[in-house]
Symmetry: C2
Subunit: 468 residues, 2 copies
């Protein structure tokens, strides 16, 4: 049975691109090292037609396919299970920029293009492609779309979904849907594009996409601001939105302990402001020049100081300083890893509920787990916190995680659910949060999702056991 | 049979809200007077629970439901057929603003809220709700979402879809899906929201929505610019996007004959520029003051004059003048109606293909129908033209339409399809374009759409015969 399937796969993509032996952990082991799968084979198609042949072969033989981009996902959605029966389809060889339409401000790329390559192609043509996230050097645009990735520019430009105009998809029957439109408006039937985006390879395999491009801003200015509490950060966000409108392109918050961890593990990084309860990283982009951007930004911060929202602030004086500020922010997850294993949450809340959520949940966690250390940072402008927890430094972290992770999650997710929030803001569901989704999503929504999955993939060919 | 259903409907919404007699043409006749349906009854629920009861009653009795908002749709999607067996569900009584969350910049409204009422509620709370279109005084937000409405602010703010964060929907089984989230990020399963948006009441009945609000701009500046050809308009768009970035909030084009019709039928309207082959209406919104906005705008137009993209321009000097410019643009469809029956197209193209499309299609139409008069205007910034055709003035228009409408559509839609365009940019499919959709959409896309319809509405309870 599996022999015949392997034959069909070799016929589809060539024997050299059907990997069954040797160390396949680059594909089978996820980036967080939480899921180690075993695949029947890793196949590496070079084209959309080859993807279609692979899916047809799997469907014909009753096997399932797990699509994988850069294998940087955080929820175990892109690795096979341990059964040894699933086919892992890597899009790594599909990495062509198909074209840039400058007059239409769009770029069309293969799904396997690395995000950074898409950014650079756009830049070379005089455009900005704004999707930006920590894994951009290895994640792929196909994976970004399959998980509806977020990142640091969502406040202004939206998630991956909002940046996508058209898709090419191989569906569960191995048919190619050519929806690669570069149109800004198209009301011809159901929104298959947005249904595919964020479905984590369970409804179709994205093979190419047409994405929006934007004019490059003439100037970017970055600043740090120190706030006494999270409520003041929310007020500052509101003021910045009023004053800067769409020129506000970044608004990140960092609680004191998250920056203390950076200082502990990356002491060489400059800290332009002394420690504060909360530090905000603001970024403004401007189509006028540097000078205009800077003076608007300074006026904003002065008002914030006068109103007591901020008690200290520093504006980056150069691109290098600006990068250093972003580097501080981006070093938090790395500092967390240095500090030891930890429990991550990727939650979203209405911005109006965030301060209350944090006050309530901090207290509940400390009560339940004295000495637990909260590492709280994230994209406040999007209502998205990475609300993480490091074990008390008196306890071996692996032991703490093994014993308490579920109870920690329950406290956090109950508080999120009570406030109308989301248990997965930008990372998706995958394997990690599948049970939480089943337990917390409304029965009506789950019923519709299951009906759609069954309608589009009745044989369960595409990434079964993920999401639903 | 129908007696028992009427009883159940009366039990659901009260006898006074089940209309079966008298003149029901306000509901049964569409705004364009192209479709005159006959309903078993018009029901006017006052709440989501009542909508659910109505759908359950219809499903139980094997009847179907046609949801209707303000009855301003242009494609016959919101009126019953002539069978006398369908139930028309009007959301007119569901018009409560459920709440504004100022700190989260969101508004939650019943589906039957008139668009203008939503705009005004936002304004009263100090916000901008940017969705804006000709029918805003009578269309409803539920209808706007069911059809994914566009309008004049799409360039900056997107279609209705991009403005929506959460929905409440009654599905085909009469269950209520509470997806009324105000979250900017939520990757928990399939994107049911965007699937419902634009599905024209065939997958669910939208009963409420949470929409994004924006800061009010400090200033808005409007201008007219005269161009020699459409290619120059496209170049001007590009320049304006580079210079103004997201501050560019409107970019409308009007071909000479469309403004000549306005002059003929509304001679009292001031024309700040002499006739030109193409006239562009530009709008910039700015979070800085009036002065800054105006000087940036003037610098843009000076560059455009220097580069020969524009040969004349006039910037509005007051809010009244600004309104007068928009009024010119908005008078085109009314002037067309005064001129007589005509053939409308609502097409989208990649911006890069528009000039070629118009040159080709103008020539083809004039060749096929000598004397036909093209009324070409639209949202160039979105690649969306209302590419309409008025009968030759030597022929009775009704006769011309009856004889040639199909052939005209074929020429236009073939040219659109050949250039990767859309036959419905912002109006939807409804009854009008159902056959065109079936003929022109790819079989793979249609297959997936039909599978979704069958999965979510297996009995065909919701607006059957529309879209698919």
């Amino acid at each position: 049975m599996s022999g015949a399937l392997l034959e069909a796969l070799r016929a589809a993509v060539g024997a050299a691109q059907v990997l069954t032996e040797g160390d396949l952990s680059a594909y089978e082991l996820d980036w967080r090292r939480r899921w180690r799968g075993r695949a029947l084979a890793v196949v590496r198609p070079a084209s959309t037609d080859e993807v279609a042949l692979v899916v047809r072969a799997c469907a014909a033989h009753g096997a399932s396919v797990v699509p994988q981009g850069g294998n940087t996902g955080l929820v175990g959605g892109g690795v096979t299970d341990a059964s040894g029966t699933q086919v892992l389809l890597s899009t790594a060889r599909m990495c062509r920029v198909r074209g840039i339409d400058a007059a239409n401000s769009t770029i069309t790329v293969d799904a396997g293009c690395v995000l950074q390559a898409v950014q650079r192609s756009a830049e070379a043509a005089g455009f900005l492609f704004p999707l930006s996230l920590a894994a951009e050097g290895s994640c792929t645009i196909g994976g970004n779309l399959a998980t509806n990735a977020g990142g640091t520019q969502v406040l202004r430009f939206g998630n991956a979904r909002e940046l996508c105009l058209g898709l090419e998809v191989v569906n569960a029957q191995g048919d190619v849907w050519d929806g690669l439109t570069g149109l800004r408006k198209d009301n011809t039937g159901y929104d298959l594009r947005d249904l595919m985006i964020g479905s984590e390879g369970t409804l179709g395999i994205i093979t190419a996409a047409t994405m929006k491009l934007f004019p490059q801003p003439a100037a970017r200015v970055t600043a740090l601001a120190a706030c006494h509490d999270l409520g003041a950060c929310v007020e500052l966000l509101k003021l910045a939105q009023q004053r800067l409108g769409p020129a506000l392109t970044g608004f990140e918050v960092m609680e004191a302990f998250s920056l203390a961890l950076v200082a502990r593990h990356f002491g060489q990084l400059p800290r332009p402001l002394p420690p504060a309860p909360w530090t905000v990283l603001l970024e403004a982009s401007d189509s006028d020049g540097e000078q205009a951007a800077r003076s608007r930004f300074q006026a904003l911060l002065e008002t914030a100081l006068e109103r007591g929202l901020v008690f200290d602030a520093a504006v980056a004086e150069s691109i290098a300083q600006s990068r250093a500020l972003w580097h501080l922010r981006e070093s938090i997850p790395l500092a967390q890893a240095e500090e030891g294993p930890n429990i991550k949450h990727d939650i979203a809340l209405p911005v109006s509920a965030i301060a209350d959520f944090v006050a309530h949940t901090d207290a509940a966690l400390i009560r339940a787990f004295p000495g637990a250390r909260l590492v709280n940072f994230g994209h406040l402008g999007d209502g998205n916190l990475h609300y993480n927890l490091q074990a008390p430094d008196t306890v071996p972290p692996q032991e703490f995680l093994a014993r308490h992770e579920h109870a920690v999650n329950t406290i956090v997710y109950d508080a999120v659910t009570a406030r109308g929030g989301s248990i997965s803001a930008e990372h998706g569901i995958g394997a990690l949060k599948r049970d939480e989704l089943a337990a917390r999503k409304s029965a009506v929504a789950l019923g519709m999702m299951r009906a759609i999955k069954l309608a589009l993939d009745p044989k369960g060919t595409l990434n079964p056991g993920r999401v639903l």
